[in-house]
Amino acid sequence: MSKKPKPFGQVLRERRVERGYTLRKFAELMELSPTYLSQVEQGNVDPPTAERVHKMADLLGASADEWTALAGRVPEDLPGIIQKEPTAMPELLREASGLTAEQLRALREKARQMKAQGKPGAEGGDV
């Protein structure tokens, strides 16, 4: 069984210090108040928006998707992707749910190939 993940605030604080940013410096970079950032780190308020979490991860060299999930947020591009295929996309996600990381990687690779083949001009399709 997998270990319970650390709370978002704790991961953020550890990474921030590891990267050599003080609370005040990082708050300044993020254009947030130090009090708010500290509250996020303590887990006393809801994690920031997906957009902010993305920026935090970028500044600290972390995976934006991983941090977004940890923060309990949905990456900002996902709602649009689902809305474009409102039936097929949720079905695909449900089917894929439960696959191992390796299987997901293979599935992703397959999807990438299919997209490349489907693109106009990708396989000698130039006319």
């Binding site: 003080t22 609370l23 108040s33 009090t35 500290s38 780190e41």
Partner: protein
Amino acid sequence: MKSSVPFLREDVIESEAEMLLAEYGREHEAIVCPPVPIDEIIELYLKLEFEIRDLRALFGLGDVHGAIWFRERRIAVDTQLDPGQFPAKRGRYHFTLAHEAGHWRLHRKHFTVPEGQKDLFDGEPKPSYICRTTEKKVPVEWQADCFAACLLMPYKLVRSAWEEWRGGLEPIILSEMPDRRQRLQAELLRRGGGKSGPEGEGDMVLENAVRPFADLFQVSAEAMRIRLEKFGLVARKKEASLFD
């Protein structure tokens, strides 16, 4: 909580603060000009967990500035001192951080948690020290204040910055200031009131004069005035000498 802190002479406290600055300099960057990077010393060198939180609500006390939890390696500063929201409190914020660093360096080895001590509430342990502004200064608090002043305004750094600021080591002498009245009025306006009595007025005039210098160190004018008086760089009257 239980604490039996021995008496510490001021020069011993000063040496301890200088040692911390030197250690920080070796591991990170030597401090050659003000301000002393106290946030970095706390979080990146001492590796203390740092929080800004509503300590007044947490402890039910109206005058709390900071607190420290030795076992958890954690310090906290009250939200009222957040320098992002209240830039005028920046000096007090720095002093509080340095004060907590003082507890960490001077007092943690003397501190023991009594058996059976209960948490404040669910999972919230009692702090080792709660630092308040209005309570009478007990020795541990005085020592931590002294450490904070030595850490944020170390003698060598103050002396060299003063020399650069004033173009020499000449002190500012209150009795020789021609514009004392105007400075006092300016300071009273800035504060919206002030200390009374000749001593209090003198403090305010001197603090008004050294405020730009205090800003270089990002400390309050009051903290800087006290430190400079100790170094003889500000004085009430000119010292009498054989040649007067």
